[in-house]
Amino acid sequence: MKKEYSVIIGGAAGQGSRKAGLIIAKLFNKLGYGIYIYEDYQSLIRGGHNFSQVTAAEGGSVNKKEKIDFLLALDKKTIERHKDKLKKGGVIFFNSDRIQEQGIGIAADKIVKELNGLPIMANIALIAGLAKGIGITWDVLEKILKEELGKEIEKNLSVAKKAYTEVLPPAGGTKIEKTKYAPGILMTGNEAIALGLKTAGLDIYFAYPMTPASSILHYLAARQKELGVLAVQSENEIAVASEAIGAAYAGKRSAVGTSGGGFALMTETVSLAAQAEIPFMAINSQRMGPATGVPTYGAQSDLLFTLNPGHGDFEKFIAAPSNAEESFYWSGKLLNLAWKYQTPAILLTDKDVSEGTFSIDKDIFKSVKKEKELIWSGKGEYQRYKITQSGLSPLAYPGTKNAVVKANSYEHIEAGISEEVDKQAIEAMQNKRLAKFALMQKEADAIGAVKIFGNKKSKTVVVAWGSTAVAAREAAEKLGIKMVQPILISPFPLKQMKKALNGASKIICAETNSTGQMATVLAGHGFKVDKKILKYDAQLFSTEELARLIKN
C-alpha cells in the first residue's frame, strides 16, 4: 500500500501555523512524498483559529483526508477542534507551556524564552519536536529550516535544536521512510498561475485585491524585476479590466485576477473583449458566495456565472484546474489561446486550489511556452476586422508603420469603424466571429480537455472538476470505479466527454455547491447525471467522505 501521512498544525491567526505547515510539508517532500496542504483561516487578522492540514503520500497528487496521524497544537483550541480526527495511535505534539494533554509535550514557550526568541518561534519548536518524533534527521530539518527561514535563522535554529534534543520519540512510534520518488517543488495554485502566465508571455498583471486571488498579485509584485512582469493594483475591478484591455490593444500580454464579486464587475468588459476581439485573460478564483458569503472558504459555485459572463453572443475559453500543475499549464495555455483567438479566456479556479500547496514535478515547466499570435503581414491596407475564412483577422498594434488600428465596441466594418445602418455588414461581421467560434470549438476538441482516472472499465463514473477532482480521483481509485475530470469546460469538449462517458451506466457528479452546476452543464450537453453529490458547508471534500457518499 502507498504510504500516506496527515498532519494538522493549528493556532490563532498570527501564531504562524501556516508557515509551520509549509515547513512540515517540505520535510515530507524532501523524503519523496507528494504533498497537498489545505489552509483553513477566517476573515480576520489576529485571533480566531487557523490551521494547515498537510497530506503527504507516496507519488502523485493527494487530497485532504478525514483522519490524521499527527496533530501539532500551538493553542488549546487546536486540540478541541481536531483531536477527534486523530487515527488510533496518532500523536499530539503540543506546547506544554500552554496545554495539558496526552502525547508529546514540548515546552515551546520556555525554550523560546530561554533563547531570547520571538513568541512566534514556538511553532519551530513544535516542528522540531515532530521531526524528532517521526524520525527525521537533524540534517534534513536544518536544511529545510535554513531554506524557509531567512530572517532570524540562527535563533530559529537554536530553538529547533533545543526542542529536537529534548523530545524523545514515542516508543514504537512511526518512523517516516524515504520513498523512491524524488522531491517535487512545493507551490500554491496561485503561484503556479503566476508562473504559467509568465511563461506564456505575460507582460502586465492588473488586479484589485480579493481573496482567494490576491496572492497572484502579491507573488508577481514581489518578483517584478526577476520576472519582468509588471504587477499593477488599480482603483477597482472595472479599472483593472479596462486597463488590461487597453494594454492588450497596445500590444502587451495582460491578465487580471479576482474572485466572484470582482469578476461580476468585469462582465461588461468580457463582452467588450468579445466584440472588439481584444484578448482578455482573467482568473476567477471561486470562494463561497453568494455575495460576500464566507470569503476565506472554498466553493465551486461560480461555474454557470462564469460560463455566461456577459451580454450578447460570444464564445470564450474556460478551464478549471484541480492542482498546481494544472494551474500552471492551463493559465499558460489560456493566455496563449486568448491571444491566438483574440477572445476572452478565463481560468476558473477555486480557493482550495488557489491557496492550497501542491508538490509539482518540475518537468511541468516545460509544458508551456509563449505562442506567437497572428500578426499582420504589413501588406496592403490594414483592417483590424478583416473578414477572412478562418474568422481570424491579423493583429497589428499601434505604432505599426502604415497601419491604422481601430478597435471598436460598436458593431463595425472591417476597418473598425462603427456600423449601424447596413444590416448585411452587421450580419457579416457576426458571421466572421461565428467562424472563429467554430475554430475555437475545434481547438477544444483537439486539446486534452478531459482526463480519465481510476478503473477505466467501470460503468460507474464519477465526474468532478476543480478542487473536488482530486478527492474524486482518489475515491474512484479506492472504489474501483472510473473518474472523469473535465478541465476545459468552454468550448465544451463534447467529443471527448462522449468518449469518456461512453458506456457509463451510472454517472455521479460531485461538486462543492448546492445546486449541482456541473451537473447542469452536463445536462445541457445531453449527459444525464444519475446522482449529484453536493457539499456546501464551506469545506473541501475529504477522500473518505466522498468515497462514502459515492457508495451510498
Binding site: 509588471l230 505604432g399 462603427s418
Partner: protein, 269 residues
C-alpha cells in the same frame, strides 16, 4: 470644415453629429493639433485616440488614427492600459461629461491622482446627449430633461475643482467655438509631462444650446503660474450656474512624478 488637414486624418465614415454641434469644433482643433504634432516629427502611427461612448466619442470614427472605443465611462482606464503597455504612444482620450463625471468618475479621479501620462479631453455639453439629453453631474440645477421634466434638483459639480483636488498636474478649459485656443491647449497638454485634463465647453444644439451664454461670458484668462489657492479662485469665477465671466485657458499646471515612468522602473533590471 472636416477636410482642412494635410495628414490624411479623415475617414469615410459619415458624420452623424447634428449640424451646428460643438463637437465639430473639437474635431477640427484636434486635427490641427495633430497636424502640428506630426509636423514636429512625431509619427502619426504612434498616436492613439481612446473614445468613450456618447456623441463625443464618435470622433474616433472620424479620425484616421489608431483608436479604441470601449465601454461607456471606461475610456480613461482603457487609456491608462494603453499608455502603460507602450509609453512611446501619445494617448488622447475623448470623453463626455456623463461618462467622465457620472459613470466613470472613479477613473478620472484616480488617473489624475496617479498622474498617468494621458490627455483627457472632456466634451462638456452638460448632459447625456446620445441618450436624448438626461441631466449629468454638470447640468445646471433646474435643467428640464426627459429624466427631470420638472427640473433637476441636483446642483452641479465643478469638474475643474474636482481635478484640482485630485492633484491633476494640468487643468485647462477650452471652448469648442474657439478653435485656435483649443488647438493650443491640446498642444500644451501634449507637451505637459503627465496627466492633463482639458474641459471643453461644447454646446449641444439639440438639447441644451448655450452658445449665446458662453459667447457672452468666456474670456481668456492670463497664462501664468498659479498656486492651488489662486487656481481655486479662478475656477470659482463660474460654478456652472450663472456667472459674469467664464475663464478659458490653462488654469493650473504643476510637475509631478509620472506614473508610467516610475512603475516601469520596477522591472528595469
Amino acid at each position: 470644415m472636416e477636410k482642412q488637414t494635410n495628414n490624411n486624418l479623415d475617414t469615410k465614415s459619415p458624420n452623424t453629429w447634428c449640424p451646428g454641434c460643438g463637437n465639430f469644433g473639437i474635431l477640427t482643433a484636434f486635427k490641427q493639433a495633430v497636424d502640428e504634432i506630426i509636423k514636429n516629427g512625431f509619427d502619426k502611427e504612434k498616436i492613439v485616440v481612446v473614445g468613450d461612448i456618447g456623441c463625443n466619442s464618435k470622433i474616433a470614427d472620424y479620425l484616421n488614427l489608431n483608436s479604441i472605443v470601449g465601454l461607456h465611462g471606461r475610456s480613461i482606464a482603457t487609456a491608462e492600459g494603453v499608455k502603460l503597455a507602450n509609453s512611446g504612444l501619445k494617448v488622447f482620450v475623448f470623453i463626455g461629461d456623463g461618462a467622465g463625471l457620472d459613470e466613470g468618475v472613479s477613473h478620472l479621479v484616480h488617473a489624475a491622482k496617479r498622474n498617468s501620462n494621458i490627455k483627457v479631453i472632456l466634451h462638456n455639453n452638460r448632459l447625456f446627449a446620445l441618450t436624448t439629453g438626461q441631466f449629468t453631474a454638470v447640468s445646471p440645477k433646474g435643467l428640464k430633461s426627459v429624466s427631470t421634466p420638472f427640473g433637476s434638483i441636483e446642483e452641479p459639480i465643478n469638474p475643474l475643482k474636482l481635478m484640482l483636488s485630485s492633484d491633476a498636474g494640468f487643468i485647462a478649459r477650452g471652448y469648442s467655438a474657439k478653435l485656435e485656443q483649443l488647438k493650443n491647449l491640446i498642444l500644451a497638454a501634449d507637451k505637459h509631462k503627465g496627466f492633463a485634463f482639458i474641459e471643453v465647453l461644447q454646446p449641444c444644439v439639440s438639447f441644451f444650446n448655450n452658445i449665446e451664454f458662453y459667447n457672452e461670458r468666456v474670456y481668456e484668462a492670463e497664462n501664468k503660474n498659479r498656486t492651488e489657492a489662486e487656481a481655486l479662485e479662478l475656477i470659482n469665477q463660474w460654478d456652472y450656474a450663472d456667472a459674469e465671466k467664464i475663464p478659458l485657458g490653462i488654469i493650473f499646471q504643476k510637475q509631478r512624478p509620472v506614473f508610467e515612468e516610475d512603475i516601469l522602473k520596477l522591472i528595469v533590471k
